[in-house]
Amino acid sequence: MSASSTAPRHDPAYNFAFLDEQTKRMIRRAILKAIAIPGYQVPFASREMPMPYGWGTGGVQVTAAILGPDDRLKVIDQGADDTTNAVSIREFFRRTAGVETTERTDKATIIQTRHRIPEMALRDDQVLVYQVPIPEPLRFLEPRETETRTMHALKEYGLMHVKLYEDIAMHGHIATTYAYPVKVAGRYITDPSPTPKFDNPKMNRMPALQLFGAGREKRIYAIPPYTDVVSLDFEDHPFTVQKWDQPCDLCGAEDTFLDEMLTDDQGGRLFICSDSDHCNRRQTAGHHGSMTQDAAE
């Protein structure tokens, strides 16, 4: 599909990547601390960005702090490069940093994401930046920051296990399908951001550095390369990921996260890969799903 676009020069009205150097240094210090303590939420002096809180201001600040002129940036939202907010954030960095952008996972040096991890395995020369709305995995069990901070400090995670147990007792399943809590490097319980639990196994021992930015909540955390990331479960109720009864209707993939598209009001629907780059590349490589098969015939 579309390869990397040519890099424009950055808007001279703004500092490279929008933030001033002082702010970038402050964010880099927070990032370094976060890498040093995997899964720990480091408070940082989040700035007001020219996009609203909730639109990825945390991820944007992390990306701005680590971006260099030679980087190639990919931005995805729901796995896709063409969703409106991904388009908007990519445009923001094209304008303020003049960096090259790409839709190809393998060509990108930094990938900023909201709600998905690319299907393709990432390398150790790549950084994955997550946009995080609520960084505190215990927040919905205990709304107070003062409490949850103590719970983390004392490694007191019983409440989370009780919650998961209650799910099983009531529904027969752990009823968390996204933002499924993980334990990082055997210490901190961490929120993987609202990615579907389908993506959790990819976080474990990932070669790429994973950085998480929560702008409104003013927190940064990190999972260094090759770090153990374990999704919480029980021996008799092991962690499992979602499965679909059918392959992607466009590329025939059977091992990807599929989005359901409603095609009419008669119950007609299609299942297609949420990772648009992955799906496009499979189609280009000659893979077909039921829809593309029909068209080809």
Partner: protein, 366 residues
């Protein structure tokens, strides 16, 4: 054949064009100017400056124009601009006691030294729509009170303070500079400096509702409007290179000192305590609400019963009073969430299937 939803870039561009067109309105009607907004919608400008944390009338007026009168959007524009500005340093604390007052009232005394000065207030207007305003009209000149208007008057709290009836506020310790909510992540429990900063930036509507709740019994604190003053104060700054303090400008502020009952404790005799409110420009409702909430949040410091009311809950109030944060997170629900929704769909379908299967198996067994 299904065609993937593409063209985000083009759609966004066109949406922006449409927005600009809507903002302009009917092109046959003269465009509203920034000085007009500044001069004639001045209270909107005041609110945007206060909650935007930036004293710049024309910039706030421009933000109101750009945001089509959506004040929270205008506040957001000002905040986002503010972060890009270099910081020269901090000013000296403003001296509201030497304010040149335009309005100054106390509800606690019939008369006060310096007098009651109504100034420009809606308070005693009858809320009858003035149809005369529909046509452009000349406005009659107001007859200003002779004498103390536009002068400095002593603050009520300081007068009561002389008798020890009101708690004395401790001066801030210069070796311990106040915190800054705009450059540090807020930590709990927060000091009063950070609390007041967060409240000053806080949403007027949110603080109004919380202040109101204290009056209706959710952490009632028996407030009296000790003094409300609006006027101009000089902003001074110590300049390192000069070695002395110089005046760098004048700003209009609204200051509210609420005086509240306090039964006293084992160490302090019964006396009145204070809740404090301050805003840029003339934001009286905001400053009063802020003072009520400030006082409610002092419950722990004053060793009062924490009845668990929302206005007493520091984390609850300070985490939710910022309207730029609140509007962002509420409105972000407009962004696509279909991946998460898909995950939930899958789970609900599976659980429904299991319930049906169980019911079927039970029926077969019977």
């Amino acid at each position: 054949m299904y065609v993937a939803v593409k063209g985000g870039e083009k759609a966004i561009r066109n949406a922006h064009r449409l927005l600009a067109k809507e903002r302009r309105g009917d092109p046959d009607i003269a465009e509203i100017s920034v000085p007009q907004i500044d001069g004639q919608l001045s209270l909107a400008v005041d609110r945007v400056m206060t909650e935007g944390s930036l004293y710049d009338r024309s910039l706030a007026a421009l933000a109101i124009k750009q945001s089509r009168g959506d004040l929270i959007e205008a506040i957001f524009l000002v905040r986002a601009y503010r972060t890009t500005l270099p910081r020269f340093g901090g000013s000296e604390p403003i001296e509201t006691g030497s304010m040149t007052v335009r309005r100054r009232i106390s509800a606690s005394f019939k008369d006060v030294p310096g007098g009651q000065l109504l100034g420009p207030t809606f308070d005693y207007t009858h809320r009858l729509i003035d149809f005369g305003l529909a046509a452009e009209s000349e406005c009659p000149a107001a007859e200003l009170a002779p004498g103390p208007a536009e002068t400095t008057v002593p603050s009520i709290a300081s007068i009561l303070g002389n008798e020890g009836l009101v708690e004395t506020e401790t001066d801030h310790n210069p070796s311990q500079p106040p915190g800054d909510v705009t450059s540090d992540a807020l930590d709990f429990p927060a000091g009063r400096d950070l609390r007041l900063q967060a409240l000053a930036r806080g949403d007027e509507g949110f603080l109004l509702a919380l202040g109101y709740s204290t009056q209706r019994g959710y952490a009632r604190n028996h407030a009296f409007a000790g003094e409300i003053r609006v006027g101009t104060v000089t902003v001074e700054m110590f300049v390192e290179e000069l070695g002395f303090t110089i005046a760098i400008g004048e700003i209009t502020v609204t200051e509210v000192q609420m005086i509240n009952q306090f039964k006293g404790s084992t160490t302090v005799p019964p006396q009145f305590t204070r809740g404090y409110g301050l805003s840029f420009g003339h934001c009286e409702r905001k400053a009063m609400s802020m003072a009520l909430v400030d006082r409610a949040l002092r419950c722990r410091e004053l060793d009062e019963d924490n009845v668990g009311a929302p206005a007493q809950d520091e984390e609850f109030v300070l985490s939710h009073c910022d309207n730029v944060q609140a509007t962002g997170f509420v409105e972000h629900l407009k962004l696509p969430h279909y991946v998460d929704f898909q995950s939930e769909l899958e789970l609900v379908r599976r659980m429904r299937r299991e319930v049906t299967e169980r019911a079927g198996a039970q029926e077969a067994a019977e």
